[in-house]
C-alpha cells in the first residue's frame, strides 16, 4: 500500500513544524484517535478505533519520529496492533516547503497490514489509507483557517 499527496497550509514552516510535533494536535487530527501519550520527544503511544469495511477494531500503536530535519522533513514510523482484527505498520515521509502562500506539505505513506484486515480488507485498505491520510492533513491544515 502506497499513498502520497500534498496540502498547502496558510502558515509558516516553523509553525507547521511545531504543530506536527504536538501530540494534542496529532490527536485531534487522527480520525478515531482516543488517546495519545507522550513517551518522549520522539515517541508517542496512541489508541485509535477504526472501521475498515466490515472490520471495526481498536488499535494500540506507537508512533516514532525518525530522521527529523528541522523544519524541513521527518519520517513517522507507526506500528499498530488490533488484536483479532490484525496489525499494521507503516511510514510517512513528510516534507515542508516554504512558498509565497504558506507552507506546502508533501507526504508519502507506505504501509502493510496483516491478520483479518488483510484477509477481508485488502481491497478496501488502499482507499481507507488514502481517506485516513487526506483527513489527517485536511484537519491539520484547518487549524489555520479562521
Amino acid at each position: 500500500m502506497e499513498e502520497h499527496g500534498e496540502f498547502l497550509i496558510p502558515a509558516s514552516r516553523n509553525e507547521v513544524w511545531r504543530a506536527l510535533q504536538d501530540p494534542l494536535v496529532l490527536k485531534q487530527c487522527i480520525d478515531g484517535c482516543e488517546q495519545m501519550t507522550v513517551i518522549n520527544a520522539d515517541e508517542f503511544e496512541c489508541a485509535v478505533t477504526v472501521k475498515i469495511g466490515p472490520v471495526k477494531a481498536r488499535f494500540n500503536g506507537t508512533i516514532s519520529i525518525l530522521e527529523a530535519v528541522q523544519p524541513e522533513s521527518y519520517t513517522l514510523k507507526v506500528a499498530a496492533e488490533g488484536g483479532a482484527a490484525g496489525f499494521g505498520q507503516g511510514q510517512a515521509h513528510v516534507q515542508l516547503h516554504e512558498t509565497n502562500e504558506g507552507t506546502r506539505l508533501t507526504y508519502a505513506v507506505e504501509g502493510s497490514i496483516g491478520g483479518k484486515l488483510a484477509q477481508i480488507g485488502s481491497r478496501l485498505i488502499q482507499s481507507f489509507s488514502r481517506k485516513m491520510a487526506r483527513s489527517f492533513f485536511e484537519s491539520f491544515s484547518k487549524q489555520w483557517v479562521a
Binding site: G53, G114, Q119
Partner: protein, 783 residues
C-alpha cells in the same frame, strides 16, 4: 429393465427431496446433549516463531471451559498429521516431510494455521475467548512465491531448499533424442493458478467421548470417513480404531478438499475426552478460505517436439508444484502420479519426460482439488498442441487427429506408465464438431467482428485416469492405502434391500445411482433399495469418494456383492424347484427353471432365505446378505472433446463464453441426468479457473483473496448454456463398463477456454484467470 429407474434411466434423485426442502442433516445440524463449542485461534503471520502463548485472559472470559495449545496435544502423545503417499525423488531418496503437529507448537507457517483453541459453553463465548488469546511471535521472513521457493529462506529445519522431492517420469534420453530430430519445437511457460475449493458447506466436526464405553464418535464433513478413522487411530493416535466411530452425514460438496484429515477434527475429538463433553466446531467462510487445502499452483515449462507435418515426437515438462506449508494427506501424489502419468493425453507421442519439483511455501497446504493433477496435465498438453498447430499453420483439429491413438491400438501402453484400455478419440471429436456447428463458425466470427467483438475458438481433448486404483500398483508407487472398495448388500425378509457402501456421497447422488444398479440387477422396485454410506459403524470399510471412483470401484463392489446374492438365490431356488442351481436362471427379478412354469420372484426367495423351510441348513446357511471387496485391475480412462467459442469485447476486455460443447466418453452410464449434472458442475469450475478464480497471497503471506469480495466464484451469468453429449467405449476391466464422470468437466474445460481466448486475441499465451483486466492489458500490449 425399468425405463424410469433402471440402468441408463435418468431417474430423479432420491436425496433431492430432503435437500431442497431443508431436511438434509449436515454435521452442524447435529446436536448432542452437553455439547460445547470450539473456536480455533489462527496465526496472523505467514511465518513466525511462537515465543509464548497467553491463555489466561481467555480463561477469564465467562463461559470459557478450556483453552488448549499444541504442546498439550504433543504431551498427550498426539502425532503429526501424516501425508499418505511417499513419493521418491530422482536420486532414490524418499520425499522429505516436515513435522506437522495438528496445533502449531514452535512455529506457525501460514496465515490461518491454528496455534490454540478455545472450548466454551456457547459459540459466542468461544469466540470471545479466542479473541482474548494472545501470542508473542517473532516474525520471520515469509516464502510465498512458487517459482523461487527453492532459493528462498528455509522454512523447515529438516527440509533443505524448501524441496519435498524432485521426481521424474519417462525416458529422458529418448525424449532428448526426439527433440534433437524435431523440425519444430513449441514451448510454453505455464502458470496453473492457485484455486480455493469453496464447497457450499464449510468443514465441521462434532466430537464426543463416552467414558462409560470408552468410545469416541466423530461427526465430520469427510469424503472418506473410514480413512479419517484409520488415520486418527493409527497415525495421530487419538483412539484405538475399534473405539472410534466416524460418521459423515450429509455433506455439502467436497471437490477434494474434504478428503484430507485436518487439525480441527483431530483437536475436537481429542479434546472431547479431556473435558468429558462433546465439542462442536464449524468453520466460518473466512476460516474455509484460510484453512481448507487449496488446489493447483504449478509453474511449468513445457515443450513439444514435432515433425514438419505435425507428428508429435516428444514432450518435455518441468514443473514446480507448490505444496504450501506442509504436506497435506494426499498432496504428494497430485503433481506426480496424477499429473506426469497423464502427459500422453489422447496422443501417441512416443517419448515423454516429466520432472516435478515439490516445494514448500508459507501458504495453506495444497492438495487434490476436483481433477487433482489431471487438469494441470491436460492444460499443459492441450495448450501446447493448440499452440503448435498455430505455429505450424495447421488446423488444430487436424493436428490432433493425426496424433490420436487409433482405436486399433488399445490396450495402449503410454510412455508414462499408464495403459489405456479403450477409447475412440476421433469419434468424440467428430461429435463435438457437429454439435458445435463447426461449419457455421466463420459466419459467427464475421458477425462478432461486425459488432466490434473479437471471436475465438479453442479445443481441448482431455484424458483422465480415474477409478482409483489398483491397490498393488499404487502401494508399489508409495501410496499408504490400498484403493479398493467394499460393499454389503443386505436383503431384507420382505425382499427390500439395504446397501452399505464404502463410497461417500457429498453431492454425487449415490443413493440414486446405486439404487438404480441394485434395482436393475435384482429386478426389484427402485424404492425398495436403501443406500447407506458415510458411517464406519455401519459399513465394513471403505476408501471413500474422490478421483471419480465411486461408480467404477464402489459400484463394481456392489455389483460383485449382487453376483453373490444372485448365486445364493439360485441355490435356494434350486431347492424349491427340486433341481440344481446351475439349472436356475435369474432375469427380470425372477428365478426360473426350464422344468417349471412357475418362476419365483426375488422377494419369495428372500422370504425363503430367512424362513428356511425348504433347504437343508447344513448345506446352505440361512439369510441373504453378502459382502464384496472390489479391487480394480487398472485405472479407467474417461476422455472427451471440448469446444469453446468466446466473444471478447476489446473495449472492456470482458470475455463472454458464447458456446461450450462437451462430448465425453464415460463408458456405460447409469443415470445420464446425474452425469450431465456432474459435467455441468465440472465445466463451471473449469471456467471459474480460466476466467475468474485466483488464490493470491501478498508478499508478506497474507491471503489477499480471503473472501468473496476478492475471490471470484463463477455465477450463473458467467456461464453459457452448455451443449453436452456423450460417446461410449465401455471400460473393459470392470463389470459395469463404467469409467467415472465427476472430474471430467474441470479437467477438460480450462484449456478449451484459454485456447479460444488466445485465438480471439491472436496471442501465444494469456495467464489464467483471464480477467477483463488481463485481457484488456493483453490487447493493449498486442503480444
Amino acid at each position: 429393465m425399468n425405463a424410469e429407474t433402471g440402468i441408463g434411466a435418468s431417474a430423479l434423485r432420491k436425496e433431492d427431496a430432503r435437500f431442497i426442502t431443508g431436511k438434509g442433516q449436515y454435521t452442524d445440524d447435529i446436536n448432542v446433549f452437553g455439547q460445547t463449542f470450539c473456536v480455533f485461534v489462527r496465526s496472523p503471520h505467514a511465518r513466525a516463531k511462537i515465543k509464548s502463548i497467553d491463555t489466561a485472559s481467555a480463561m477469564a472470559v465467562a463461559g470459557v471451559i478450556r483453552v488448549f495449545t499444541g504442546d498439550e496435544l504433543t504431551a498427550d502423545g498426539i502425532g503429526d498429521l501424516p501425508c499418505g503417499w511417499v513419493v521418491t525423488s530422482k536420486d532414490g531418496n524418499p520425499m522429505v516431510a516436515p513435522a506437522h503437529p495438528p496445533i502449531a507448537t514452535e512455529f506457525v507457517n501460514y496465515v490461518g494455521e491454528p496455534y490454540a483453541f478455545v472450548v466454551a459453553e456457547t459459540l459466542q463465548a468461544a469466540r470471545d475467548g479466542a479473541e482474548a488469546v494472545s501470542a508473542d511471535f517473532e516474525v520471520l521472513e515469509a516464502v510465498v512465491d512458487t517459482g523461487t521457493a527453492t532459493s528462498s529462506a528455509q522454512i523447515h529445519e529438516n527440509v533443505a531448499n524448501n524441496q519435498a522431492y524432485d521426481w521424474e517420469l519417462g525416458d529422458k534420453d529418448a525424449t532428448d533424442a526426439a527433440f534433437a530430430q524435431a523440425d519444430h519445437v513449441t514451448s510454453l511457460d505455464i502458470v496453473n493458478n492457485r484455486l480455493i475449493p469453496n464447497a457450499i458447506e464449510p468443514r465441521a466436526a462434532l466430537g464426543s467421548y463416552d467414558a462409560a464405553s470408552q468410545t469416541y464418535t466423530l461427526y465430520t464433513t469427510s469424503q472418506n470417513p473410514h480413512v479419517e478413522r484409520v488415520v486418527l487411530a493409527l497415525f495421530v493416535q487419538v483412539a484405538p480404531e475399534a473405539n472410534l466411530r466416524v460418521i459423515s452425514p450429509d455433506v455439502g460438496g467436497g471437490f477434494g478438499s474434504k478428503i484430507f484429515v485436518y487439525a480441527e477434527e483431530t483437536a475436537v475429538i481429542w479434546a472431547s475426552a479431556k473435558i468429558g463433553r462433546p465439542i462442536k466446531w464449524r468453520a466460518d467462510r473466512s476460516e474455509s478460505f484460510l484453512s481448507d487445502a487449496h488446489g493447483r499452483d504449478h509453474v511449468t515449462k513445457a515443450e513439444l517436439a514435432l515433425s514438419s507435418s505435425g507428428e508429435m515426437l516428444g514432450l518435455r515438462v518441468k514443473t514446480i508444484a507448490n505444496m504450501g506449508a506442509y504436506l497435506s494427506t494426499f498432496s504428494s501424489s497430485v503433481p506426480t502420479y496424477l499429473y506426469g502419468t497423464l502427459m500422453a493425453g489422447q496422443y501417441k507421442t512416443p517419448a515423454i519426460y516429466v520432472e516435478t519439483q515439490a516445494v514448500f511455501t508459507n501458504t495453506a497446504p495444497v492438495d487434490a482439488y476436483r481433477g487433482a493433477g489431471r487438469p494441470e496435465a491436460t492444460y499443459v498438453v492441450e495448450r501446447l498442441v493448440e499452440t503448435a498447430a498455430r505455429e505450424l499453420g495447421m488446423d488444430p483439429v487436424e493436428l490432433r487427429r493425426i496424433n490420436f491413438i487409433p482405436t486399433d491400438a488399445f490396450p495402449y501402453q503410454t510412455p508414462v506408465a499408464l495403459q489405456y484400455d479403450t477409447g475412440n478419440y476421433a469419434a468424440s471429436m467428430a461429435k463435438a464438431l457437429e454439435l458445435a456447428d463447426s461449419d457455421g463458425y466463420m459466419a459467427r466470427k464475421a458477425a462478432s467482428e461486425a459488432a466490434g467483438k473479437l471471436r475465438g475458438r479453442g479445443y481441448s481433448c482431455y484424458i483422465e485416469a480415474c477409478g482409483l486404483a489398483p491397490s498393488q500398483l499404487v502401494l508399489q508407487l508409495g501410496a499408504g492405502v490400498g484403493l479398493f472398495e467394499s460393499a454389503e448388500v443386505r436383503v431384507d425378509v420382505s425382499g427390500s434391500v439395504t446397501v452399505m457402501t464404502g463410497s461417500h456421497s457429498h453431492g454425487q447422488g449415490h443413493e440414486t445411482t446405486f439404487a438404480q444398479l441394485v434395482s436393475d440387477r435384482l429386478g426389484i422396485p427402485f424404492d425398495s433399495v436403501n443406500v447407506i454410506h458415510g458411517d464406519t459403524g455401519r459399513s465394513d470399510y471403505g476408501l471413500g469418494t474422490y478421483g471419480s471412483r465411486s461408480i467404477a470401484v464402489g459400484g463394481s463392489a456392489i455389483d460383485k456383492a449382487l453376483d453373490k446374492i444372485i448365486a445364493k438365490g439360485k441355490k435356494i431356488a434350486a431347492h424349491m424347484f427340486e433341481t440344481t442351481d446351475d439349472q436356475v436362471d435369474f432375469a427380470d427379478g425372477q428365478f426360473s427353471y426350464a422344468g417349471s412354469n412357475e418362476p419365483k420372484p426375488f422377494a419369495e426367495i428372500a422370504g425363503a432365505a430367512y424362513i428356511p423351510a425348504v433347504y437343508p441348513l447344513d448345506e446352505l446357511e440361512p439369510g441373504l446378505s453378502e459382502k464384496a471387496f472390489y479391487d480394480p485391475s487398472n485405472f479407467t480412462y474417461p476422455a472427451g472433446s471440448y469446444v469453446c467459442e468466446v466473444e471478447i469485447d476489446p473495449t472492456t476486455g470482458e470475455t463472454d463464453i458464447a458456446k461450450f460443447v462437451a462430448v465425453d466418453d464415460f463408458g456405460n452410464v447409469i443415470n445420464p441426468m446425474i452425469v450431465e449434472g456432474q459435467v455441468h458442475g465440472g465445466i463451471a469450475q473449469g471456467i471459474g479457473q480460466a476466467l475468474l478464480e485466483h488464490g493470491i497471497y501478498d508478499s508478506s503471506g497474507n491471503l489477499a483473496t480471503g473472501s468473496y469480495m476478492d475471490y471470484a466464484m463463477p455465477r450463473a451469468d458467467d456461464l453459457p448454456d452448455f451443449q453436452v453429449d456423450m460417446t461410449s467405449t465401455p471400460c473393459t476391466h470392470n463389470p459395469l463398463g463404467v469409467k467415472g464422470c465427476g472430474e471430467a468437466g474441470a479437467i477438460g474445460s480450462p484449456a478449451a477456454v484459454m485456447n479460444a481466448i488466445t485465438d480471439a486475441l491472436g496471442v501465444k499465451d494469456v495467464s489464467m484467470p483471464a480477467t477483463p483486466q488481463t485481457v484488456w492489458q493483453t490487447i493493449q500490449q498486442g503480444t
